[in-house]
Structure formats: structure tokens, C-alpha cells
């Protein structure tokens, strides 16, 4: 127990601690399958989006246009589906169009940041206004109802959770098991060294933004299906939510560090927090305070873990440096 690495297992420990606390305080309400489904459905859109934006964070980029790109994609899907009468084919075409819009937006971000060497912060800061404007023009600043069964089903029961799991698994596989995944970490860790070692840094970066745009559009579709409507304000607040989930999950916004399970942990922890505070009837004016404190604790644990790792690395380097002297 003395050698137990608390900081390494901080994420599962925090999750289990939360579940235990809520189970004791609200056993009947909290400990039920339907409640866990509620928690997961409430964070499904964030989970889907963070599965893609993690690629951008890992290369040291950022996307501030998540919220408005989400809204624009949802508005594109809803407009096309409405114009085509809401049939299954209309839904398929609407979804494909929205996903294409998301991917194209990502391509635009990737191309501008890599070709003109403009920081992603500035590019996505500018495009967020463009996407908002486009969403407002397309929707004529109105809410577009999306009640067609073929579309609404995407937001019902456990369908959003299935999408989140599929996106997370694919993202995890790509990051852990493919060459592209290794390139992403390499580019984020040291772009210059990656370039020298023959990695096409520009292409990898563009691909990361395309993936992020694609998953953001998918998040928008799921959110529109859940609320059965799309409008330019649909994504309000989601840029913060996605970045918060990533940061809680230990993803470094400087790039090169972080894992997908960490990001999903961040999203689920946010869902657990919202659910727990709601079940305990905590007023919304106080819930922000509690949420902030929990996020600070989660991030502090993660920082401890990183500090531990850095110390170990430093020790290894010292030993390595000392060895030749001895010989």
C-alpha cells in the first residue's frame, strides 16, 4: 500500500469515489440503470466531440469554433432533411452533408494554420464567427424542428451512447494501434524532430483538424436529434465543455500528452457531477462552485502524476549520465 501509485490511478479513484458518495447520499435515485443511462446520454455529444478534438489537442492545436461549427452542421442537416420531407433517404443525405461540412471546416482550419503558419487560436477564433453567421443565415435565425422519426431516433434511448462508444473506440484504436496515431503524438511532442525524421507534419496536422471537424458535426447531429431541433444557438457553451473534459482528462493543451480514456473520463465526470448535483437539489447558483472545485482537484491529481513521471525521468537521465563516468 505504501508503494501504491495514487497519482497514476487518480482518474478511476475519483470516479469510484464519486459513485460511492452519491450511492450513499442518494441510493434509490442514483443506483439504477436508468440513471446511469441518463448520465451517459447527457454527455454523449461531448464524448463524441472530444474523441475527435483530442487529435487537435495532441498536436498542440486548439479549436475555438466547436460550438458554432456544431450549430452550423446541425442546421445544415435539419435544413436539408426538412426540404426533402423527412424521409429516411432525406435523413441520410442530411447527415452526410452535415458531416461533409464539418470535415471541410476542419480542412479549412488545418490548411490555413499549416500553410500560413497562423496560430490555430486565431484561425478558429475567426471562423467561429463565420460559422455562427452562416448558421444564422441558413436557419433565418429560427429554430428548425427536427421531429421526423428517422432523425429523432438518433437521440433516443441508448443510441447516443452507442455512437459515443463507437467513436471513442475508433479514436482509441487509431491513436494507440496505428502509425498515424504515433505520428500525432510525435508531431505534438516535437514538430521539428518529427519533420526531420520524415513525418509529413503538415498532412498529419490537416488530418487532425479534419477528424475534429467531422466529430464536431456528428456531435451536432446527436444533439439536434436529442432536442429535436436545430438552431444557431444549439452549441452554446460546448467549446468550454469539450475543452474542460479534455483538461480534466489530463490532455495537455501544449500537445503530445494525453489519452482518449482520459478524455472520456473527463466527459463522464462532468455528467456525474451534473447528475449528482441535480439529484441533491443543489441550486444552480452553487453548482458552479462545486463543479469548479472538483475540476481543480481532478486537475491537481493529474499534475501530481505528471510531476511524478518527470521526477522518475530525471532520475533515469541522472543514472544514465553517471554510468559512463563510472566506467
Amino acid at each position: 500500500m505504501k508503494n501504491f501509485n495514487w497519482s497514476k490511478y487518480s482518474k478511476p479513484i475519483i470516479l469510484v469515489a464519486f459513485v460511492i458518495i452519491l450511492s450513499v447520499l442518494k441510493p434509490a435515485e442514483f443506483l439504477s440503470v436508468s440513471n446511469f443511462i441518463s448520465i451517459l446520454t447527457s454527455v454523449a455529444a461531448i464524448g463524441i466531440m472530444v474523441s475527435g478534438t483530442i487529435f487537435v489537442f495532441l498536436i498542440g492545436g486548439i479549436d475555438l469554433s466547436i460550438a458554432t461549427l456544431l450549430s452550423m452542421s446541425a442546421v445544415v442537416a435539419a435544413t436539408i432533411i426538412t426540404k426533402m420531407g423527412g424521409s429516411v433517404i432525406a435523413v441520410v443525405i442530411g447527415l452526410l452533408a452535415a458531416l461533409a461540412v464539418g470535415a471541410l471546416a476542419g480542412l479549412l482550419h488545418g490548411y490555413i494554420t499549416t500553410t500560413f503558419a497562423i496560430p490555430a487560436f486565431l484561425v478558429t477564433f475567426a471562423t467561429q464567427s463565420i460559422f455562427l453567421g452562416l448558421a444564422q443565415v441558413l436557419s433565418n435565425n429560427n429554430k428548425i424542428a427536427c421531429t421526423w422519426p428517422a432523425f429523432a431516433i438518433l437521440g433516443q434511448a441508448i443510441v447516443p451512447i452507442i455512437f459515443m462508444v463507437v467513436f471513442a473506440l475508433v479514436s482509441w484504436y487509431v491513436l494507440r494501434k496505428t502509425v498515424f496515431g504515433r505520428y500525432v503524438y510525435a508531431v505534438g511532442g516535437n514538430p521539428t524532430a518529427s519533420e526531420i525524421s520524415g513525418i509529413n507534419v503538415k498532412l498529419v496536422s490537416i488530418m487532425c483538424y479534419v477528424i475534429s471537424g467531422f466529430t464536431t458535426a456528428m456531435g451536432g447531429i446527436i444533439l439536434a436529434a436529442q432536442s429535436q431541433q436545430a438552431d444557431s444557438a444549439l452549441g452554446a457553451g460546448f467549446t468550454n465543455d469539450v475543452i474542460t473534459a479534455a483538461v480534466i482528462g489530463g490532455i495537455s493543451l501544449l500537445g503530445g500528452e494525453g489519452t482518449l480514456p482520459g478524455a472520456i473520463f473527463g466527459a463522464v465526470l462532468m455528467g456525474l457531477l451534473n447528475n449528482g448535483l441535480s439529484l441533491m437539489n443543489v441550486d444552480s447558483t452553487q453548482s458552479g462552485l462545486v463543479k469548479g472545485l472538483v475540476i481543480v482537484v481532478a486537475v491537481a491529481f493529474d499534475a501530481m502524476h505528471h510531476a511524478d513521471q518527470s521526477r522518475k525521468k530525471a532520475k533515469k537521465v541522472k543514472k544514465g549520465a553517471a554510468a559512463p563516468e563510472l566506467s
Binding site: K26, E29, F30, S32, S34, N35, S38, S42, Q136, N141, N142, K143, A145, T147, Q156, A157, L223, Q226, S227, Q228, Q229, D231, S232, A233, A236, N274, N275, S278, L279, N281, D283, S284, T285
Partner: protein
């Protein structure tokens, strides 16, 4: 040396305070003179010959142009003026920010608009701008939310708030048989209209229905998606929940979706307020039990009518002793009468 510096600092602070208090008194005296002017009225008042073809500009300043209510008002204003090509209407959205509305108001005054129709984000924050516009001879018509009481302006066109809450409570009580557990989904505190609506609802339940218990109150910040999550936790906590009152329709729609998802469609009596198109459709299909409907198009059109009257006549708000009000008729809508609201009155 230190004492001298302190004395200098104190003198400077006192001077600044004196200058500011002087400015404040000056503004009060000026506005008092304008109103007290009585028979003289406002010297800046301009009469425009609208029906003779003179060019006219009206500004519509929304709290958030993206909401159905604001869109309804905008369309109502545009419909009212559609027959007069010489009337130009410019709409501005303030992204829910009072300071942005103040900035837009200043621009409109500088650009010499002939009338301004505004839904104030914050009555107190907008009061000086409204007074400034009126002093410049630009009639201001406020929608739903009054600015501070001593800022007299051309008119306030509003939907019923406190009584609308009472109406919703009475009808919901009737629908659930006068007893059981109910919950409230709140908006953002501090907004006069929705605060009054909630107060009307709670007062009525407490005064008249002793067997109805309000078991939970949570905010969903007027957001449909947040209301869905809040409703899920309500259902989780209270399996025997009989009714939910959401302060606006968007949140009621979210709550209804959550109930539908849980296979409880129509089992929980869900009420909203506003009367937007999607809510009326949900009442028709049984997902929602009712709403308090206000015709937003009519409200916008009424505001435009008053603006036209103020611009084209000798009516002068400077001689008023209080802001005149037009209160829109609230209609309690349930499944029984939702069909009476025709397609052209759905916004």
C-alpha cells in the same frame, strides 16, 4: 511628506465625487425640465409625414434575435409596415447583452432613427439610453420588460406575467386532480417577467392547493437541452411526479422529450409559457399538457402601430406622467383549444 500625499489623494477623490454628483444632478434636472415642460413638450420632437411618402427608419433591438419570441415580434413589426415602402426597418440582435444594447441604442440615436422598438435585456441598464432617445425626439417602445419606472417613454407593450403564472397553476391543478407532487424548471433569476411568472405560479399553488406539493425547483437556464437533463433527474428522484411547470416553452419542450424518452408520454402534466409553435405541436400530440400563449406577431405589430402613431402625430411622450402600457391577452392553451390557434397565428 506622507501626510501631504494622503491629503492630496483625498482632495482628488473628493473633487471627482463632486464632479460626478454634479453631473448626476444635472441629468435629473434636465429630464425633469423635459417632462415638466408640459404644454411646451419636447422641442426635439419631429413629426413625419409617413403616409405622404416621407422616408422613415425604425430600429428593432432584440435581446437575442435567435429566439422565437424575438423573431415573432420582428415579423409582426415587418408585417405591420409592409404596405409602406418608405418605412425601413433595421433589426439588431444584442446577443443577450445589455451593454451591447446600450451601444446599439447610441448608434441608433446618432443615426437619427425615427423610432426605436426594444426588448430590454436589463431595464435599469437601458434606462439612460431610452431617456436620451426620447429627449432626442425619438419615440421608444419597449417590449415585455419595462425600463426603470421613472424613465417615462412612449409605450410598453407586454405579455401578462404574474397572472399568467396563476393561470398555469389553476389549470395544472385541475388536470392533476388538485393533489400530488409537482416540480418547477426555472430560467435565469433576475429577469422581471420570468420571475413574476414563477412567483404567480408558486403563490397560487401555496394559497389555493394545499394538497399539491412543490418537491423540486431547478434552473435549466432557459435551455431545452439542459431542461431535458433536469427533467431526467426529477423523474429519477420522484417516480410519482404529477406535474412540471417550466418558465418558458423551450424548457417545457425539453422536459417533455425526457418524459417521452422514458416512456412516460402524457403521464406527467408538463406546462410551459410563451406559446411557441413547437410547444403547440407538442400539446397536440400529447407530449405537453399546456402553455400560456401570447401572440408575438400581434405584440410586435402593436408596437409598430404605436411607433407609427407617435412619429406621424403631435403625440409627445414629454407630457406623459407615466409610461402607457398595452397588455396582450394571455390565452390558456390545452389540448382542448390548441386547434383554435390557426396556422397564421403560430410563431
Amino acid at each position: 511628506m506622507k501626510t501631504r500625499k494622503l491629503a492630496l489623494l483625498l482632495t482628488a477623490v473628493l473633487m471627482i465625487c463632486l464632479v460626478f454628483s454634479g453631473c448626476e444632478r444635472k441629468v435629473r434636472e434636465d429630464s425633469g425640465a423635459a417632462i415638466a415642460g408640459g404644454s411646451g413638450g419636447n422641442p426635439n420632437k419631429k413629426k413625419v409625414d409617413i403616409y405622404g411618402g416621407e422616408e422613415v427608419k425604425i430600429a428593432y433591438i432584440a435581446h437575442d434575435l435567435g429566439t422565437p419570441n424575438n423573431q415573432g415580434w420582428k415579423e409582426g413589426i415587418e408585417r405591420e409596415c409592409a404596405s409602406w415602402p418608405n418605412i425601413k426597418i433595421d433589426s439588431y440582435g444584442a446577443e443577450e447583452k445589455a451593454d451591447k444594447q446600450v451601444e446599439i441604442m447610441t448608434n441608433c440615436i446618432n443615426q437619427q432613427y425615427n423610432a426605436i422598438i426594444i426588448q430590454c435585456s436589463d431595464g435599469a441598464a437601458l434606462a439612460p439610453s431610452i431617456a436620451q432617445a426620447e429627449e432626442a425626439g425619438i419615440p421608444v417602445i419597449t417590449l415585455n420588460l419595462d425600463c426603470s419606472k421613472d424613465t417615462i417613454h412612449s409605450a410598453l407593450v407586454m405579455a401578462v406575467d404574474y397572472d399568467a403564472g396563476r393561470m398555469a397553476a389553476d389549470k395544472m391543478a385541475e388536470q392533476i386532480g388538485g393533489k400530488g407532487k409537482i416540480a418547477i424548471i426555472e430560467g435565469v433569476p433576475g429577469l422581471e417577467r420570468t420571475d413574476n411568472l414563477e412567483r404567480g405560479f408558486i403563490d397560487t399553488v401555496k394559497e389555493k392547493y394545499k394538497d399539491i406539493e412543490i418537491v423540486a425547483q431547478q434552473s435549466a437556464s432557459f435551455q431545452k437541452n439542459t431542461a431535458r437533463t433536469v427533467m431526467e433527474s426529477f423523474m429519477q428522484q420522484h417516480a410519482d411526479l404529477k406535474g412540471v411547470f417550466a418558465i418558458n416553452d423551450a424548457m417545457a419542450e425539453g422536459a417533455a422529450l425526457a418524459a417521452n424518452n422514458k416512456g412516460k408520454k402524457g403521464e406527467i402534466c408538463i406546462w410551459g409559457a410563451d406559446g411557441e409553435k413547437i410547444a403547440l405541436e407538442m400539446i397536440e400530440d400529447g407530449s405537453m399538457a399546456g402553455t400560456i400563449y401570447t401572440n408575438s406577431w400581434d405584440e410586435g405589430s402593436t408596437a409598430a402601430k404605436i411607433a407609427l402613431l407617435m412619429m406621424s402625430s403631435d403625440y409627445d411622450s414629454a407630457v406623459l406622467t407615466e409610461t402607457p402600457k398595452v397588455i396582450m391577452e394571455p390565452i390558456v392553451v390545452t389540448k382542448d383549444n390548441v386547434g383554435d390557434i390557426s396556422e397564421e397565428d403560430r410563431w
